[in-house]
Symmetry: C2
Subunit: 237 residues, 2 copies
Amino acid sequence: MQMTKGKQLYEGKAKIVYATDDPKQVIQYFKDDATADNAKKRGSILDKGSVNNQIASHLFQLLEKEGVPTHFIEQLSDREMLIKHVEIVPLEVTMRNITAGGICRTLGIEEGIVLNPPVFEWHYKSDELDDPLINDDHILYALKAATVEELALIKKLSIQVNDFLKAYFAERKIDLVDFKLEFGRYDGQILLADEISPDTCRFWEHGTRRKLDKDRFRRDLGDVESAYQEMLKRVVG
Amino acid sequence: MQMTKGKQLYEGKAKIVYATDDPKQVIQYFKDDATADNAKKRGSILDKGSVNNQIASHLFQLLEKEGVPTHFIEQLSDREMLIKHVEIVPLEVTMRNITAGGICRTLGIEEGIVLNPPVFEWHYKSDELDDPLINDDHILYALKAATVEELALIKKLSIQVNDFLKAYFAERKIDLVDFKLEFGRYDGQILLADEISPDTCRFWEHGTRRKLDKDRFRRDLGDVESAYQEMLKRVVG
């Protein structure tokens, strides 16, 4: 499909969104820029934009087949994804299958504990507030950021995404530790939006627990680029 | 009732628990010590122990009549309450009718917004971790600190307590802004425990919004003792 890339609508930490001729469609451009610790740590990961676009495009298409509606329309190029122009719900979902990161700090528990059933979290999407953990009542009665029906649907879809991805990665000898999802409103529908990539998931090589995700950047573990390439190979290759 | 005060079992920030001859009963002694900001701020409020014991004893008896089971047995003296020896569930419930304190910082919203329905929060009772906000999944699947049935019962009782207290204080021209509850296990039952007092509630004089609770100490507003005495008069007097 030929799309004319219009003016820049939004620049985030890892992506830029451009208008197209069609107000219902926008282009999501994936950058190599990497940030961590709420942008207090900044850097770049060579070819990350390309890897994340390929991984996310692949996974969105698989999820669509599983009945999860997403904002994905088409991968336009190496770093460009054509998507439906959603209004992002200002919430982030975190699904956790194994403890790591925030939950360890919040609860004072070790990394690597298997959570079964998985732990579901709502975070309020706010850089100023550091994406705080919140609960249903905060969303419904204090922020009024979504309806009861939207929360129920987003939760149901998130569990469906986790069930599918966990099995998909397990076949590829990858433990899906946790991941972040965002959703958007589009024509009265709720669509899975943003991306699914080593930026937004924690992936551990099964057995060795070698980290194959952005934690290599966050924690200065080295071999960041090769971890992203390894994930591309396992997901798409 | 005559009770022999035995050895000290536990000393908290505002209370000491002593054994009695009966292993099923203990004495809760109310101190004047006041702490705030997770004990980084320390001080003392004259006669606070006596005021809180009288207010809590009075409210526990009213709540028992409303069908809320509590640990209260008898007020033994000015600062001593005989209670059932519960095993404290390591959770704190916060019920919020008006925004103030933590919720304003977490969500970046103003103090004084009416929440209707009220907002219910779970916090993990941990001084080291600063009593973090958590959700049901954390309790059930990560901490394994309570059962589904216990959480449902505690939530139901907390709403019942809020409904009763909100109306009770409204009659006394006090807005019940928010409060913290703790619960304990005793003989297979869940009992309301700890205390209900100006240490654990936010009380605003209706209309003027003058603070009549521990925020006067937390924020160095002055007239701390007289606020506690005023609440004693309105509740018991």
